[in-house]
Symmetry: C2
Subunit: 344 residues, 2 copies
DNA sequence: ACAGCATGTGAGATCGGTCTCCTAGTGGTT
DNA sequence: AACCACTAGGAGACCGATCTCACATGCTGT
């Protein structure tokens, strides 16, 4: 060990020289295409093994026009929902000799744009994106226009002609709120975020529809805005329940907000479900951990990543049909956080 | 829209042609090195903007020998601890024009090997790894021997000469168990995994040391093995507490096991801290969520990723000193899950 | 007027593979 | 003996960007 080996990788040229053949022949022998004599194949393989040849995927990618990599741009990798999807994508990809590159947009539109731009120039095979915004999204439209393989997960952008995998947010929310109404609740609060994010919009729409269908008024004072973090949700909950006429029930739009609501209610000394009934969108590990356990709208998280990959691979291998949209149904999981209230 | 635009990217050749200069000049104008006339620079810039030129990072990478990407190989991206670190790495990397590629080893040694092999051939700038095993790790040794920039996080491999960022697992565990001993506990159970993973080994060593230092026996029947999942930890807890002479306290080696222990104890009808005192390694969102809140050994998670990136960047930019090892101290966060017991 | 220098630009090599095209040798057929 | 089919392997183009080198200006100083 002389200490500083300047780390020069073994190239196919080295292998060819060692096996005493040309680069072309070495490549043929290693990759098993075209004609290659048995003796030569053996010699080349031996030389490659001996030198520890590993090929250079960058060079291969340049020649072939793309990298055997697909990109995933979630809203936030720390969100267990996206972590799970990332995990599933990774699993589904394994074996197809593709790597996964994860780059979180941190729910920032501009960051998302930069990331997509950056990933595009890497010549990835395709992208799976959960767009941070439902707004303009010119960058996504551009990708689609270029026929760049793209699948949207969780968040659907209206009018963007590409494959999507999502869940029935409106339906799930509607079911949850209807369930509360059936238990006699009339003043049902909701914590939602500013709803640049499509899923939040859809869930809020479901909340509205449930009320309207039941002939109940949609009251602005029952709808408080919060960012999707535990801390902000705590504040929002306290604001909501500090009103003169309190809600008797609360619906939260994602698991972080559900957590925040729970903590906020506890801070205020309000008991679930005696004082307040609670239903949250999105099941989460600790919903069964509390006392009482929380009633939630659960999404089939485990199916989303796998299906997205299948759709993407389909596109990559040339499928050129019209955009396909899959919406998984949600399921109301009844636990113990909702109580009946009497109506005067 | 004819429908099928075969997506041919704009190359520098196109830009050069449009600006009526040579490729070399176009490159100079765009990258601002060497001489370039003002008028030409403008013309080229205009042409590039007009055509939507974006450069091809694969080609650049081939020419320059490496990709502006660093890789992160965590044990499990679904583990909030690693998700947080991934998030921090990403943040720290942003602005230095590097992308992050995350590829989870799923705690499998062979998968880790394949991933590293695969990432190596992508000519990444460097790697941040949390090795799945403390065993042989020939693949890691090979990387180090090749002077491939490598930083280990969370899990230190003995004798591997590379930079590491970890926490004081032994010390933290020792502090936790000593804390239990001071509260009068003599039969202290521990749930640990098979400990291929270094952190688990170190934490278990801390448990042992605390007992030995206090002159207490280390009893095998108080140490149960469980995989690091909630489900397995529930089983392990039940096994542990089904013994004739029950432990009065329990120490768990990570947050998933703490969760499992809590659920297991609840199933058995045992109250924390009245029947059993509990301390967990690693703080987690829901430790403050339970009643009582859980006393834990917390790690400075937020510092690990950022420091790892700084160390890695340092190596990438040529630093060639001896391996540096940072161990962050842990902190015992006292909440309400430990009670005093009287000793006969 | 001409050397000497700073400046601007193009031709072509290069990175490490892949792949097309071409040549050469072998064996079989007529 | 002439021809063809087929196998084996080499030469060199190519992917897209960068960079060295050479060349062509125009300007200054003597």
């Amino acid at each position: 060990m002389t200490g500083k080996t300047p780390r020069r990788a073994v190239t196919i040229k080295d292998v060819a020289a060692a096996a005493n053949v040309s680069r072309a022949t070495a490549a043929r022998a290693l990759n098993g295409y075209g004609y290659a004599g048995e003796a030569v194949v053996k010699r080349v393989a031996a030389a490659a093994a001996q030198l520890g040849y590993r090929g250079n995927r960058v060079a291969q990618a340049l020649r072939q026009g793309q990298m055997p990599i697909i990109g995933f741009v979630p809203g936030d990798i720390q969100n267990p929902f996206f972590a799970r999807i990332a995990h599933d994508i990774d699993g589904q990809l394994r074996g197809s000799h593709h790597n996964l590159i994860i780059a979180s947009s941190e729910e920032s539109e501009t960051q998302e744009q930069e990331l997509l731009e950056s990933l595009r120039t890497l010549n990835l095979r395709g992208l799976i994106v959960a767009p941070a915004s439902s707004g303009e999204n010119a960058h996504l439209h551009r990708l689609v226009a270029e026929h760049y393989p793209l699948v949207l997960v969780d968040r659907v952008v209206p009018d963007l002609p590409c494959d999507t995998v999502s869940v029935d947010n409106a339906g799930g929310a509607q079911e949850a709120v209807t369930y509360l109404i059936r238990h006699g609740h009339r003043r049902i609060g909701v914590i939602h975020d500013e709803s640049r994010i499509v899923t939040a919009q859809e869930r809020l729409a479901g909340y509205r529809k449930a009320l309207v269908d039941a002939g109940l008024p949609v009251k602005p004072e029952l709808m408080v805005v919060s960012q999707s973090t535990v801390e902000h949700a705590i504040d929002a909950t306290i604001r909501l329940f500090n009103q003169r006429e309190r809600p008797t029930a609360l619906f939260t739009l994602d698991s972080l907000m559900t957590t925040g609501a729970l903590l906020g209610l506890r801070t205020m000394g309000l008991q679930v479900p005696q004082d307040v009934s609670l239903v949250g969108f999105d099941d989460f590990a600790f919903a069964t951990f509390t006392d009482p356990q929380i009633t939630v709208v659960s999404q089939p998280v485990g199916k989303i990543g796998a299906l997205a990959v299948r759709m993407l691979m389909d596109r990559i291998s040339g499928h050129d049909g019209p955009p396909r949209h899959t919406r998984f149904p949600t399921k109301l999981i009844v636990r113990g956080s909702v109580a009946h209230v009497a109506n005067p």
